[in-house]
C-alpha cells in the first residue's frame, strides 16, 4: 500500500514540474470546449442563392423577395441563364440555384400550376437537406399566399386547416451549444485519461526507468493503481473546469444531479486510463502509443453521436457502437445534464461503462509484464 503512495507522489511531482504539459492539460480542454461549442455548429446559415429569372414578372419578383427576407439565405444575385448559374455552383459561390422559367406567372394564373426548378449543391448532404427544406417551405408559403389571393374572392372559408406547433423539450430554444457542451466535456477526458496516461508509461519504457522498476519488488496492482490515481484526479479537475465553463460561459442548464455526473465522470476516467494503460502495455515507443490512442479517439468520436445521431447509422455501425464508451457517456451527459435523468434511467449505460472499465483495466494488468 505504501508503495502506491510513493508512485502517486512521484507522478504528481513530475506532472507539476512539467509546467507546459500541465498548462496544456488544463487549458487546452477549456479552449477546445469554447471553440468546439461555438464552431461545431449545424445551424445552416448564409446559404448563397443565385436566381435565374426568365419570367421577369411580379410573381417571380415576389418569390425572390421571400428568399431575400429570410436570414438563412443570402441573395448572391441574378444571372441570365442556366449555364452561368451552374458555373457559380461549380465554383462554390452558390449553394442553391432558383430557376424561374418563362411564363411562370402566366401558367400560375391560367392553369393554376407552374413549375420552378431548385438546384442544391449536395456535397454536404445534411446541409443540402436543410437548405432545400428551407427553400421548399418558402415556396409553399408563397404558393399559399397566391392561392388565398386568387381563391379568396370566390370561396372565403377554405375549411379547417391543421396547424402543427412544435414544442422542443429540454432544449427549448434549440441551442446548439446546449447539445454539444455535455458531449465535448466527456470527450475531452479521453485526452487526459487515455493519451497522457499511455504516453507517460511508454516514456518510462523509453528512458529505461520502467526496466529499473521491473527489477524492484513492486507488484502489478501497485504499479497500475499508482499510475491510475494521478490521472483520474487530474481528469476530475479538468472535468470541473469544463463544467464551470459550461455553466457560466454557455449558460448550460444543469437539471440533473451533479454528484451523479461526477460519479459517471469518475467511472469514465477509470475506463480511459485503463485504455491508456492497455495501449502503453502493447506499445514500445511513444509514437506507437500516440497512433493507437489517436485511432481509438477518432473512431470513438465519429461513432459517438457527438456530431451526428447514432440512430441514423447503419446497423453494423450501431453494433460496433455498443463497444464505444464515448457513446454511453455522451448519452449520460446529455440526459443527466439537460433532462435530469436519474441513476435509474442511466442503468444500462452504467453497466456498459462499468464492464468496459473492468475489462480494460484487467486486460492492462494482465498484459503488463515485469519480464520482457
Amino acid at each position: 500500500m505504501t508503495r502506491i503512495r510513493f508512485i502517486i507522489e512521484k507522478e504528481f511531482k513530475q506532472i507539476f514540474r512539467n509546467a507546459v504539459l500541465l498548462r496544456m492539460m488544463l487549458a487546452a480542454p477549456v479552449l477546445q470546449l469554447i471553440l468546439l461549442a461555438y464552431a461545431a455548429n449545424f445551424e445552416v446559415k448564409n446559404l448563397n442563392i443565385v436566381v435565374v429569372d426568365q419570367d421577369h414578372t411580379t410573381y417571380a419578383q415576389r418569390l425572390v423577395g421571400k428568399f431575400r427576407h429570410i436570414d438563412n439565405f443570402r441573395l448572391k444575385g441574378y444571372v441570365p441563364a442556366y449555364k452561368p448559374a451552374y458555373r457559380e455552383l461549380l465554383a462554390s459561390r452558390a449553394d442553391l440555384i432558383l430557376l424561374i422559367p418563362p411564363h411562370f406567372e402566366r401558367d400560375l394564373g391560367k392553369e393554376n400550376r407552374a413549375s420552378i426548378q431548385l438546384l442544391v449543391n449536395a456535397i454536404d448532404g445534411s446541409k443540402a437537406g436543410i437548405a432545400s427544406g428551407y427553400a421548399q417551405t418558402i415556396i409553399r408559403n408563397f404558393n399559399d399566399e397566391i392561392r388565398t389571393e386568387t381563391v379568396a374572392v370566390q370561396q372565403p372559408a377554405t375549411g379547417g386547416r391543421l396547424e402543427i406547433e412544435n414544442q422542443y423539450w429540454y432544449n427549448p430554444r434549440l441551442e446548439y451549444k446546449t447539445f454539444m457542451v455535455p458531449g465535448i466535456l466527456f470527450e475531452l477526458l479521453i485526452l487526459v485519461g487515455g493519451m497522457i496516461a499511455a504516453l507517460n508509461i511508454v516514456r518510462e519504457k523509453e528512458i529505461g526507468t520502467q526496466e529499473q522498476l521491473n527489477v524492484t519488488p513492486i507488484r502489478k496492482h501497485e504499479f497500475i493503481l499508482g499510475k491510475l490515481t494521478p490521472f483520474v484526479i487530474i481528469g476530475l479537475v479538468q472535468f470541473t473546469m469544463g463544467l464551470l465553463v459550461g455553466i457560466f460561459l454557455f449558460q448550460i442548464p444543469v437539471v440533473g444531479s451533479v454528484p451523479l455526473m461526477y460519479g459517471f465522470a469518475f467511472l469514465f476516467l477509470l475506463l480511459c486510463v485503463g485504455l491508456g494503460l492497455l495501449i502503453s502495455a502493447i506499445s514500445e515507443t511513444q509514437q506507437q502509443a500516440m497512433f493507437a490512442v489517436f485511432f481509438c479517439l477518432v473512431l470513438f468520436i465519429l461513432l459517438s453521436g457527438l456530431f451526428s445521431s447514432t440512430e441514423n447509422m447503419p446497423t453494423w455501425a450501431q453494433y460496433l457502437n455498443t463497444l464505444n464508451p464515448l457513446r454511453y457517456i455522451i448519452e449520460v451527459g446529455r440526459n443527466v445534464m439537460l433532462k435530469g435523468s436519474t441513476f435509474r434511467d442511466m442503468q444500462s449505460q452504467f453497466v456498459a461503462l462499468l464492464l468496459m472499465a473492468v475489462a480494460l483495466i484487467s486486460l492492462a494488468s494482465w498484459r503488463y509484464r515485469k519480464t520482457v
Partner: protein, 244 residues
C-alpha cells in the same frame, strides 16, 4: 547458502539465435565478479535472466538461493540492478530519486531520511541535493545510480557496463565505491569493456558467442594464456571466434 549466484547450463534462445548457450558458473557471497565479453556476446541477456527480467529457455539458476523461474519476486527484494541505460528520473531531484526508489523497496520514513542523508554525504552531493538530476554531470549521475541500486542493502548488485562513457578519474571513484560495497559483504556482478577494470575483479569470466570461454582470477587467466595483461587474454579469446 554462501553462493550468491549459481547457474547450471543456463540458456536463452530468441528463435533460432542462441544468445546465451549453457553457461555454468557460480559467484561467492562478497565476491567482485567480472563478466566480460565483446558486444553481442550475450552478457546483457545473461544478466537480465539472473535479475528475473527475462525467462530462461532452459537450464537452472539460483540467486541468493532463489530460483529464477519461480521466485523472481523474492530475488528482486535481495538484488540491486544498474543497467546500461541511465535509469534515474531526470525530472526529479537527487533527494526525490532516493526517496522514490527507497520507498518502492519498502524503506520506512526514518530509514529513508537516514539513507538519503548518508548517500548525499557519501557522494558529496550536499550542494545539489535539491537540484534536478538532469542538471548533474554524467559521472555524478552514475555514482548516484549506483548508490540508489544499493538503497535497500541488497545481497547482490548487478552492474551492466556502469562506467560507459565516464572519464578515468570518475571511473576510479566508481570502483572505490564498488570496493566499499564489497567490503560490506555485497556481491558485485559487473560487466565492462575496460580491461583495467577487469584487473580490479576477484574473478573474471569471458563470454564469446554466448558461451563462457574462460573463468579464473585475473592473474590465473594471464598465466594460462601466457600474456601479461587482461587485454591480451581478451584479444586471444575474441580473435579465436566470430571473425566472420
Amino acid at each position: 547458502m554462501d553462493k550468491a549466484v549459481i547457474t547450471n547450463k543456463l540458456t536463452k534462445k530468441f528463435g533460432d539465435f542462441v544468445a546465451t548457450n549453457e553457461i555454468t558458473f557460480d559467484v561467492a557471497q562478497g565476491e567482485i565478479f567480472g563478466f566480460l565479453g565483446a558486444n553481442g556476446a550475450g552478457k546483457t541477456t545473461a544478466i537480465r535472466m539472473l535479475c528475473g527480467l527475462l525467462k530462461p529457455t532452459s537450464g537452472d539458476a539460483r540467486i541468493a538461493g532463489f530460483d529464477v523461474y519461480r521466485q523472481t519476486e523474492q530475488i528482486k527484494q535481495v538484488i540491486g540492478y544498474m543497467s546500461q541505460k541511465f535509469s534515474l528520473y531526470e525530472d526529479l531531484t537527487v533527494r526525490e530519486n532516493i526517496r522514490f526508489y527507497g520507498g518502492i523497496y519498502g524503506l520506512n520514513r526514518a530509514d529513508l531520511k537516514a539513507k538519503s542523508d548518508q548517500i548525499i554525504e557519501q557522494l558529496n552531493l550536499g550542494s545539489v541535493a535539491d537540484k534536478l538530476v538532469a542538471s548533474l554531470p554524467l559521472g555524478w549521475k552514475q555514482r548516484l545510480a549506483f548508490s540508489v541500486a544499493l538503497v535497500h542493502n541488497p545481497r547482490i548488485v548487478f552492474l551492466d557496463e556502469p562506467t560507459g562513457g565516464v572519464d578515468p578519474i570518475t571511473r576510479r571513484q566508481f570502483w572505490d565505491m564498488i570496493y566499499e560495497a564489497a567490503d560490506r559483504g555485497t556481491t558485485i556482478f559487473v560487466t565492462t569493456h575496460y580491461m583495467d577494470e577487469a584487473e580490479y575483479c576477484n574473478r573474471v569470466s569471458i563470454m564469446v558467442d554466448g558461451r563462457i570461454k574462460a573463468l579464473d582470477t585475473p592473474s590465473g587467466l594471464k598465466r594460462s594464456f601466457g600474456t601479461d595483461s587482461m587485454d591480451g587474454v581478451f584479444q586471444i579469446l575474441a580473435r579465436g571466434t566470430s571473425t566472420k
